[in-house]
Each structure stands twice: as C-alpha cells, then as structure tokens.
Amino acid sequence: MIRFLVSRIVQGLVVIFAVITITFTLSKLVPGGAVRNERNVTEEARKAQEEYYGLNKPWIVQLGLQLKHYATLDLPDSYHYKGRGVDEIIASGFPVSAAVGVAALLIALAIGVPLGALAALRPNTLEDRASTFAATLGICTPSMVLGPLIAMLFGLKLRWFNVAGWFDSSDWVLPALTLGIIYSAYIARLTRGSLRETLAQEFIRTARAKGSSETSVVFLHAMKLASLPVLNYLGPAAAGLLTGSFIVETIFQLPGLGQFFIAAATNGDHQLTIAISTFYAALIVGFNLFVDILQAALNPRIRLQA
C-alpha cells in the first residue's frame, strides 16, 4: 500500500512537471507575446515589463523559473490581470466551476444509476428498452445543443432561471442540469452493462441460495462489484466536471475556470495558461488515485500494485 502510494505520487509529479513543460513550450509558440499584444506601449515600458516577468531571458531559463515557481508553490502573477497571482484567479474561478460540477455529478448519479439499474434488473422488458433508448439519446445530444435548448425552455420561455451569468444563488441550476443529463446517460449505460454482468455471476447465486432478500442481493452484493466500471469512468469525469466544461461555461457565461483558460490562451496570458493546465492535471491525478483506492476497497480481488 505504501509502495503503491509512493509510486503513484511520483508518477503524479512526473505528470505535473511534464504538463508545465508542455504548456510552457506551447504557449511560447503562440504568435505575439503577452507584452507585445498590448497596444500603446512604449519601447522602454515593454522592455521593463519583459524584465519584470523575466521574458528577456533564454527559454530554458524561463522554463526553469516556471518549474521553480511550482516546486516552491510560489506562484507567479498573471500577465493580463496585473498584480493578481494566478492562484488568486484560480481561487476565484474554481468555486464557480466546482459548484456547477458537484451539482452536475449528483444529478448524473441520481438519474443514471437508477435508470441503469432498472434496465439491468428487468432485461428485455419495456422498461429496459425505454431506459436504454433514453440513455442512447442522451449520449447523442451534444452539450452545445442541449445547453441552449435548456436555456431557451427554462430561461426564456418559463423564466424560472437566468439565461446567463453568475448573479443569483440559483444560477448553477441550468448549467448543472445540462452537464448532469449528458453524464447521466453514460452512467446509466455503464451501470446497466456491469450490473447485468454481475448478476449473472456465481456469488450472486450463492447469496440468493443462502436466503438473502432480493434487495440485499442487489444493493449489498451486486452493486458493490457493479459500481467498479462506473467508478472507473467517474474518476476522470469528475475531474472534468469540477474544473468546468468549456462549452457549458461559454453557453451560460459563467466566470469559471474554463472561461479563464480560453481567455488566457487567446490573450497570451501564459502564466495563467500554465497555471490552469497544471491545476487540471493535479486534479486528474488526484481523482484517479482516489478512484483506484476506492476500487481496491470495494473489490477484494483488486490489489494495489506499484
């Protein structure tokens, strides 16, 4: 277990430093620099700014400086939002993305798991067909179509919620609904497949034979094992949801991390680009590790190996 954790943490650090290096290299290739993109800047002012951010040094030195920033957790300032640290900006965007993401995850599980379980428990019935059809339909509806439709129905027609922005305490509902419906379709499909497979296994017959009630067979015995593929999917999905969907944040104009990233990438705000990518990578690494440990706890046959 300890060896497993150490090896995974080392691997995670490799990922994070690789991501910093790749994002740094990519952002150096973006045409026009952060300082050069600004208009009405005198030559001296530009030089002074480049000096301040260390942009006049060779690339390799700049990369070293970046890595040092992250190794010592002393994060640099954004180019675009003058005087604000990138960590401050992430701290302002992440709560928005995370609120929508957590709500979306709960909606997805609340719809997806029962829908998939219903289909698996009554194979080849009308319920099964209807649930599978609904899930397939959900998978095939892109968020960029579903989002505007939901905004039109609940925002413009029924006027229950704001169409866009982050002002009222209910502004998370529509974006979370959009993401939740789409993810619930994947979860329903995975739950159906894996629960059906599990129910056909011998330990389930044993559980039935020893007289366990159907509820206990399904929820205590089968669901434990059947949730593994769902968890496997949820690890990366949860990281994606928490850090915000670029599409949904664009549709509903939320000041989340996704919006900050797109703005930073197009503005040439490399410090922020690198910081947000690194934050994403750290979250993905963290969630994957968490899911692996959870899976080992749920399935005695899985052993954590370095």
Binding site: V30, T136, I139, P142, M144, M152, T273
Partner: protein, 289 residues
C-alpha cells in the same frame, strides 16, 4: 499458402453479415451512407453557395426555394448544413485515421517488444492519460491559426491512447498462439508474421474501436468550433452552425434545431454502428440479447 488471403477475409465477412442482420444496425449504416453522399454532392448540386449571402432576404422559414429556410444573412440553411456536415465528417474520419495509425503502431511495437520496453511504453500511456488534453488542443488551435488540416492532426494526436492499449493487449494475446509459433517454425520472417498474421487479427478490435472514436472526435471538433477555435466562419462545420444557431435561437430557434438534429442523428447512427460492430466481431458480448 495461396488460400491465406481468403481465410483472413472470411471472419470479416461473417462479422459483416452478423452486423447487417440487425435491422437497427442496417438502418444506421445506410443512414450514414446516404448522409455522406448528400454531404459530398449536395453543396455542388445546390443552386446556392454555402457562404452566399442574401441580405435582402435575411432569416426565413422553410420554403420551396429554401427547404430548411435561411439564416440572418440570407444564406441557405440546407446548403450550409450539408457543407458543414462534409467538414465535420472529414474531420471525424481523418482525425480517427491519424489516431488509429499512431495507436496501432505504438500498441504493436509495445506488444511485440514485451518485457521492459513494453512496461515503459505502457507507463508512458498511463502518464499521458492524466494529461489535460483539451487544454493542449485549445492552445494548439490558438497557435496554428485555425488551419483545417491541423485540426484533425491535433485531435488525432491526442486520441490514440486507448487504441494503443487495445492493440497491445491483442498482440500480447496473439503472439504466443500456436499458429504464430507454427509460422515462425516454418521459417516465416518477422515482417511476414506481422503483416500476414498479426495485423489481420488485430483489425477486428481496431475497426470496433475506430468506429467508437469517430463520434468522440466529431464532438471535439464541434466543441472547438463552438468555442470559436476550430473551423472559422464563413466556412461551416456543424459546430459553427450550432454556435450561430445558439446565438440566434431566441428569434430563430430552427437555426439551432436543424443542425442540432443532423448532428445528433449522425452521432446516434455512429454509436449504434459502433455497438453493432462490437457485437458482430465478438458474438459473446452481445449487448442487446
């Protein structure tokens, strides 16, 4: 020896017959064929240019002259949807091809090499899985200035990981089977074994996984175009049209609905076909029965 090509064909043919026996799969297949033909020749046959504006006309409802109406710039929607579909399908197929080629090569080498090299190559894939690729793709799109051919290279370059795993697993399972050992014992060279024995036997999983990659790639392209980073107007892809439609939906909801329906129907057909192919190649994992 001369009967070998036929032997490697027949499982394909059997799988094809199993695929088309399911009515839903056959519908999905013919829907995609018809769509591809329409998107291929439709924009040429149409009396309108996909970017041709008619500012007097503005947005109109469907009519005899414009079957799916026009957008606020008076452009014919049907022509634009078919043209956009051509771009979206091209990106989907080409990016999947790029991803499949990289994945097959990587997986083959890893599986054949085995041992430490295999372990190291698969560790690299594990590490790459944790990369925030969408961020890289967005940065790449900013860098390359939205050139069409770079979109599918960029998407293809990040979508090959699962393909590499699938192929590597298949090669590992195959390489110690009797028929490979027999071929080696009878003096067949390395490349002969790879080309005549391994490749035909990994084609099944490659085809299945490719068909499941296409809808994912099309979604990614649409997402980039929707964000204004992919295909640039006045050129159109379905992502561009959905973006324009979403902006105008309050007054002209059909501008969002028509491209949305085309896109969703295509994704549905591709998903059905992908699931059907999986069942056809591996009758044990029937998802329907």
């Amino acid at each position: 020896m001369s009967s070998k090509p036929q032997q490697s064909l027949s499982p394909m043919r059997a799988a094809w017959q199993r695929l088309m026996r399911q009515r839903l799969n056959a519908w999905a297949f013919w829907f995609l064929v018809v769509l591809a033909v329409l998107c291929g020749v439709g924009p040429e046959l149409s009396p309108y240019d996909q970017a041709g504006q008619d500012l007097e006309l503005k947005a109109t409802n469907p009519s005899i002259a414009h079957w799916l109406g026009t957008d606020p710039l008076g452009r014919d929607m049907l022509t634009r949807i078919l043209h956009g579909g051509r771009v979206s399908l091209e990106v989907g197929l080409l990016a999947t091809a790029v991803a499949s080629i990289i994945g097959v090569f990587y997986g083959m080498i890893s599986g054949l090499a085995g041992g430490r090299i295999d372990a190291a190559m698969m560790r690299v894939v594990d590490i790459l899985y944790a990369f925030p690729f969408i961020n890289f793709v967005i940065l790449l799109m900013v860098i390359v200035g939205r050139e069409f051919w770079l979109i599918f290279v960029a998407i293809g370059a990040v979508e090959w990981l699962t393909m590499a795993r699938v192929v590597r697993g298949q090669v590992l399972a195959l390489k110690n089977l009797e028929f490979i050992i027999a071929a080696r014992a009878s003096g067949a060279g390395f490349w002969h074994i790879v080309w005549k024995h391994l490749l035909p036997n990994v084609m099944g999983p490659v085809i299945i996984y490719s068909s499941l990659t296409v809808p994912g790639v099309m979604l990614l392209e649409a997402a980039l175009s929707f964000l204004g980073l992919g295909i640039q107007p006045p050129d159109a892809s379905w992502g561009v049209l959905i973006r324009e439609g979403a902006n105008a939906m309050e007054t002209y909801p059909w501008l969002l609905l028509y491209p949305g329906i085309f896109f969703s129907a295509t994704l549905l057909a591709l998903n059905l076909l992908g699931d059907g192919l999986r069942d056809a190649f591996d009758p044990k994992s029937m998802s329907q029965q």
